[in-house]
Symmetry: C2
Subunit: 167 residues, 2 copies
DNA sequence: ATCGCCATGTTATAATATAACATACGTTTA
DNA sequence: TAAACGTATGTTATATTATAACATGGCGAT
């Protein structure tokens, strides 16, 4: 049984892991998606997605703009926000409201109702799926409310930061 | 068995209800809390809490500032943000990230892990507790992550707006 | 070849939030 | 009682995040 370590447990994000696997899988999925949906795989979009994939650190729009400037791209706010909107719409990035920042999606290609674990110390973010998160929105149905979407952000300490803090 | 209708079902917030009960209970609890904790119950704090209690519409900081100006209070941003921080710390208000806005707390006096149902149309907000929300954070524990806090915001359509939309 | 689409670029500004310092007032303390 | 202190409020300036509106340029379809 071959398994992709990035899919098995979200918590690996907080540990050392073979990040090349994360990176390459995601980039390939992105290329494939754009090809299949006939969307333009432009240098700018690739670059921003690369930034988000670098590690699992969320990036603010203005951080991304700085990095774009360094790479010779335009660097006024709409540049970043538009690419981010694109990535989010296509399911390759998420916005973390807690941090006003953006992360690459870790559950590529599947429709999902994401939840996030955010380390308050290192600010790395792991994405977990609905099942993993213990979230069952069906249960919320007794209310006269038609649920369309849920934003779930769990804040705490990741395993690496717990370890450091204990020393 | 006497029960406070504001406690029974969060969804009553989206319907007509005896809002005087909501308002008076909350204001009394606030007064009691400040007295017991020896915190200053100032005109400014009372006024801002009143604004939040008016209906169940979240208010942005700058909306509150406008209302404060109309009431003869100072109206520069720190005025509002400081009072809001106070109310949040004391458990009488919450921030709704989705809306960059603030609401009075509906579960006064009890420690709780709140979740919110936000109507995308009328933008009213109902607070529900963790159990009601269908979120079970205990289940998220298999991860090597120490949970400290969760932000849960469910977006959808409230019963009143469903009814209107159906006509 | 030109039209239209769409990504990118630019300019300006809106919306949200905080830092740093000033004032005012009641309480404690010398 | 006067000085010292703590805390709430007020003010000025600025930081941070995000969007509106319009311009340019490439590229494929007709």
């Amino acid at each position: 049984m071959k398994k992709n370590p990035t899919q098995k447990y979200a918590s690996i994000i907080f540990k050392k892991h073979n990040h090349n696997v994360c990176f390459n899988n995601a980039m390939k999925a992105f290329q494939k998606h754009c090809f299949e949906k006939n969307l333009k795989l432009t240098p700018l979009r690739i670059k921003v997605f690369e930034f988000l994939l670098r590690d699992h650190q969320p990036l603010g729009a203005y951080q991304i703009l700085d990095m774009l400037r360094d790479s010779g791209f335009g660097s006024t706010p709409p540049i970043a926000y538009r690419v981010l909107d694109f990535l989010i719409e296509q399911g390759f990035a998420h916005k973390i409201k807690r941090l006003n920042a953006f992360v690459a999606c870790s559950h590529l290609g599947s429709t999902h109702s994401p939840a996030f674990m955010i380390c308050r110390k290192c600010e790395k973010v792991a994405e977990i799926n609905e099942k993993e998160s213990g979230v069952n929105l069906k249960k919320a149905a007794p209310f006269d409310f038609k649920i369309e979407e849920a934003v779930i952000e769990v804040i705490g300490l990741c395993i690496s930061c717990i370890t450091v803090e204990a020393t």
